[in-house]
Each structure stands twice: as structure tokens, then as C-alpha cells.
């Protein structure tokens, strides 16, 4: 509960907060049971423990059983910084994306998070919301409308597409501005729903811009050439419109000691790092 920052909710709705203690497996099971009883439980826990500890409960009790459970993975990615690899959640997308029937949403700012929470409540079936504790600027205009399964072009461009989600989106936008200074026009696609994938938007990015850089606060290993986002995009393009890609993330290592900001820089997940990867991939692209 502490890790989920739910004290304000508890104040407002004291009878609607069930604290099950330090027991993530039990928590997901109880969530599935509450859903069975007609509730719409939002099951909140630190993303690292919620996914790693309770993975089988997520697979069986939530996804396989099609329970109407909304899982909220808090402080995902490298958000816990110096607490180290036990607390980093950089494998969760690879694990969860392999599970059928599970909608996965990784919102990029406060506005999208609020809308994604409502969308999750409104839809029937299990949803995983991957939430961040890292402060981010707004990347969406106030009139933005989130739709589950739809990726959003946040910046138009011809030469390369930067695909990101979560706390990486504003960094991709900043990278696009750096690329403009180099005379390159970069499209920025916010792929906030990781499952189901917006295949149309990805294919269009490949066909129109001919090169893709994916950016995720996640391991780059675990799927086809990538863990969560990179793997998903690589799968989508490889079978439709293969184009050169660069997959940015954490390259299959446990992170060393360091703060979140320091680690993101260490792994090149900065506007400059994204810019350099884009320059590189544009250099090898074959399509116009």
C-alpha cells in the first residue's frame, strides 16, 4: 500500500481499500476472487514484486481465467534507482506480453494515465497498467483522447520513427527536436498500448519513414530482438515491412548501483542517446 501511494484513496474511500499486507501472490488471487464476486479490483503493487512474485497468479487467475482484474505495476522500470536490480522492473513487459488475454498499457504522462485508468475500469477483462514514479513533462495536448490499442503520432516526420512508451516518450520527443537541428525529420509514435498492438501504426511508420528506433525503460532481451516494446515492433515489421531498427533499453544486464537518472544516462536512454541511434539507423536505411 505504501509503495502504491494509496493513502489519499484510503482517506476518501476507506471501505474500498483492502490491504492484504506483504503478500503479492495472495493479493492477485484475492483480486481475481473479488472480480468473480462482481467487483472491479485495481490490484496495486510495486511492479517488480507484482509481476515477478505473482506471475503465475497473473497468468492463471487473471489472464487465463479472464478475470476482470486491473493490475497496476507501480514504480516500474528503473524508478527505484539505487535500490537495485531486485527493485528494478525491466523484465515485466517481456513476461507479460507472452501471456495471452492480457491488455498492457504504459501511459506516458499524467493525462494519459488518468484516461488509461478509466479505460481499464470501463473495459471487461484483465488489464496491466505499467506506471512510473519518474516525473515527466506533459507530452499530450489537453484535448488528447486515449484509446486502448491505438498508438498516437505525437510529432510528424519522414526520415525515421522514434517509437516509445511510458517515461521514455518525452525523451523521444526531445530527441526529435535534436534531430531537427541535424536536418532530419523524425516521427514520434507513442505506443502506449503494448497489447493489443497497433499494427497499422507500426506498419505505416515502417513504410513511410523506412527506419525505426524503439525506446523503452526495459530490457532489450526477451523476445524477437527485444524485450517489450522493441520486440513487439520488430515482430510487427519483420512480417510486414522489414526496416532497419535500433532497439534502445537496458541491454540484458543487471544495472549497477546508481540513481534512476544516472542509470538512464548510463544506458543511453537520453535525448542525445536516442538521437545518435536515429542518426545511425538512418545511415543504413534502404527505403526512401
Amino acid at each position: 500500500m505504501g509503495s502504491s501511494g494509496l493513502s489519499r484513496f484510503a482517506k476518501r474511500f476507506p471501505t474500498r481499500l483492502v490491504n492484504v499486507g506483504i503478500a503479492e501472490q495472495n493479493m492477485v488471487g484475492i483480486g481475481a476472487g473479488l472480480a468473480n464476486g462482481g467487483k472491479i479490483p485495481f490490484v496495486c503493487g510495486a511492479a517488480c514484486f507484482l509481476t515477478a512474485r505473482a506471475l503465475e497468479q497473473i497468468k492463471v487467475d487473471a489472464a487465463y481465467s479472464q478475470a476482470n482484474v486491473k493490475l497496476c505495476g507501480m514504480s516500474s522500470g528503473l524508478g527505484y534507482g539505487p535500490l537495485g536490480p531486485t527493485h528494478h522492473s525491466i523484465e515485466d513487459m517481456a513476461w507479460l506480453r507472452a501471456i495471452a488475454n492480457l491488455t498492457i498499457i504504459v501511459p506516458a504522462d499524467a493525462l494519459e494515465t488518468a484516461q488509461a485508468v478509466r479505460a481499464a475500469a470501463a473495459m471487461e477483462g484483465p488489464v496491466f497498467l505499467r506506471l512510473s514514479r519518474t516525473p515527466v513533462p506533459d507530452v499530450h495536448p489537453p484535448e488528447y483522447v486515449f484509446q486502448t490499442g491505438s498508438a498516437t503520432i505525437l510529432r510528424p516526420g519522414r526520415d525515421v520513427t522514434l517509437i516509445a512508451n511510458g517515461a521514455m516518450v518525452w525523451r523521444a520527443l526531445a530527441a526529435a527536436r535534436l534531430l531537427a537541428a541535424e536536418g532530419l525529420s523524425a516521427r514520434v509514435l507513442n505506443l502506449s498500448t503494448l497489447h493489443p498492438l497497433d499494427l497499422k501504426a507500426i506498419r505505416d511508420a515502417a513504410e513511410t519513414t523506412g527506419a525505426i528506433v524503439t525506446v523503452e525503460e526495459h530490457s532489450t532481451r526477451g523476445g524477437l530482438g527485444g524485450g517489450g516494446l522493441g520486440g513487439a515492433v520488430a515482430e510487427a515489421t519483420a512480417t510486414t515491412c522489414p526496416v532497419p531498427m535500433r532497439i534502445l533499453g537496458i541491454p540484458g544486464t543487471f544495472a549497477p548501483t546508481g540513481s534512476t537518472e544516472w542509470l538512464l544516462e548510463y544506458f543511453g536512454l537520453t535525448p542525445e542517446g536516442i538521437r545518435d541511434a536515429a542518426l545511425e539507423v538512418v545511415g543504413v536505411k534502404v527505403r526512401p
Binding site: 505504501g2 499486507g21 501472490q25 517488480c48 535500490l83 537495485g84
Partner: protein, 284 residues
Amino acid sequence: MNIYAEPEGARTGDRLRYLARDIRRQSLTMVHRAKVGHPGGDLSAADILAALYFSALRVDPQRPTAPDRDRFIMSKGHCCCALYTTLAMRGFFPFSDLADYAQPLSPLNGHPNRTKVAGVEANTRPLGHGLPVAVGAALAAKLDGAAWRTFVLTGDGELQEGSNWEAAMAAAHFGLENLTLIVDRNRIQQGAPTETIIRLEPLAEKFRAFGWAVREIDGHDCTALSDTFAAVPFEPGRPNCVIAGTVKGKGVSFIENRAEWHHHVPTDGELAAALEELKGGLDR
């Protein structure tokens, strides 16, 4: 020179109390400097760690991986500052290394890492891992007919994780009298009392029902701690459970029993006031 080296037979309660005070002082200093850590749990475990490393454990800092060493697993890995300090005091690595805690690329991460820090037996901090690993270690010793023992320290809130109870059953089933679980029973977890969140009581009866030999002692009485550890196995054929009654934040008036100090980082003023209250260790 390590002023804590060679207990010279003086493993008295008094000496352990001084050592524990220095563990408290140094842990708070580390949390303050790095701006991350768990003062409440560090302070509640200090006497237990002092009694383990300066009285009970048969370990040699010069041979940290000697096959016949006693194992100690710090399951409540969030209290790594207390553990790092104790290991340094015992001579596993230089005391000056502690300044590096949580700094970029430091081996002293926010949780103990056995591949990077001498004396650490398991990478812990997700709660509920230490006891199963300890059961495995104790079982290995038993299979080999070896004399070394295994000790493991868990939090009390930590016992809400189901893995502990699977391990508790296994330990009794395998008759692991060479295993000692110490529960840091400070009655507070993150944000609130254990009994408010998910009740643990009657805790001693639970362990007895699971087949363990249980002793309940004052977890800040260093003499009682070292005497109790020296008395294992309590009963032939049963794993040992020491429920150490503690106070979260013990030793600093404004930290004691305050749930918010679970992971509160002391301000400059709070650190100074805390160190003042904790004066009188061996290092001055």
C-alpha cells in the same frame, strides 16, 4: 586498524551493546549521506546483528567463502546499512568502504549482493526469500553431516509472505536443528503496525504448530541474545525460532516506534540529534 577486531574473549553483553550502538550510528549516517535506506529496521536489528557477528557466528573474515563457515542470511535486506556496517566492523571489508553506499557503481547497493560484497550470503530485499534459501543451506549441511549452522533474520511484516510458511514446513519436515530463524519482532511494517495490516499473532504458537522449537526473548538484551544463540539447537530434531521482541527505531527517542521512520531519511538536524542520543559506542 579495525578497532572492532578481535573480541579478545570480551564477548560480554556490555561490549555487544557498544558494538550495536556503533551499528546504529553508522547506519543512520549512511542513510543520511545517501538519502536512501531504512532507519527503523536498521536500528531494531542492531543488537541482533552484533550478537550474531561478535558472539554466535563462526565466521572468518579472511576466508569469507570457507566451506565450513556458519551462514547468516539477512532476509530483511532493506536493512542493508546495518548489515554492511556489521560486516565492515567484523573485518570483511574496510570500514571506509561504507562511505560508498548507494553511490554510482558501488558494490554496496540498496540491497546486499553476494557477488559483490564479502560476507553476504544471498541477494535479498524482496521479502520472503531468506528463509527458503536458509532451509536449503541447512539441508546441505545436514546432507553432508557438516557442523556449520545457518542463521537467518527476517522482519515480522515479512512473515506475511507465504514463501516463509512453505519454508517453515520444509524445515520441520527435514528436521533442521542446525537452522535458526530470528524474527525481528518490532510489530511495525511499512506504514503501520503488523497487527493492524495482517495479524501475525499468535506467532510463537504458529511456529510451534509448524514443528519448530521457539524462544521469545528481548531482542535488545545482548546477553540474552548471545546466550540464546549459544543454546541452539533448543530441541533435538527441530528447527529453532527466536522471536526477538524489538522496538523499531530502537535507541533514538524520536525514531522509536514511529512507522514513518521505516524509510524516512534523517535531515541534518535529525542526524545530529540521533548521534547525540547514541553517544558512547566504542569509536569514541
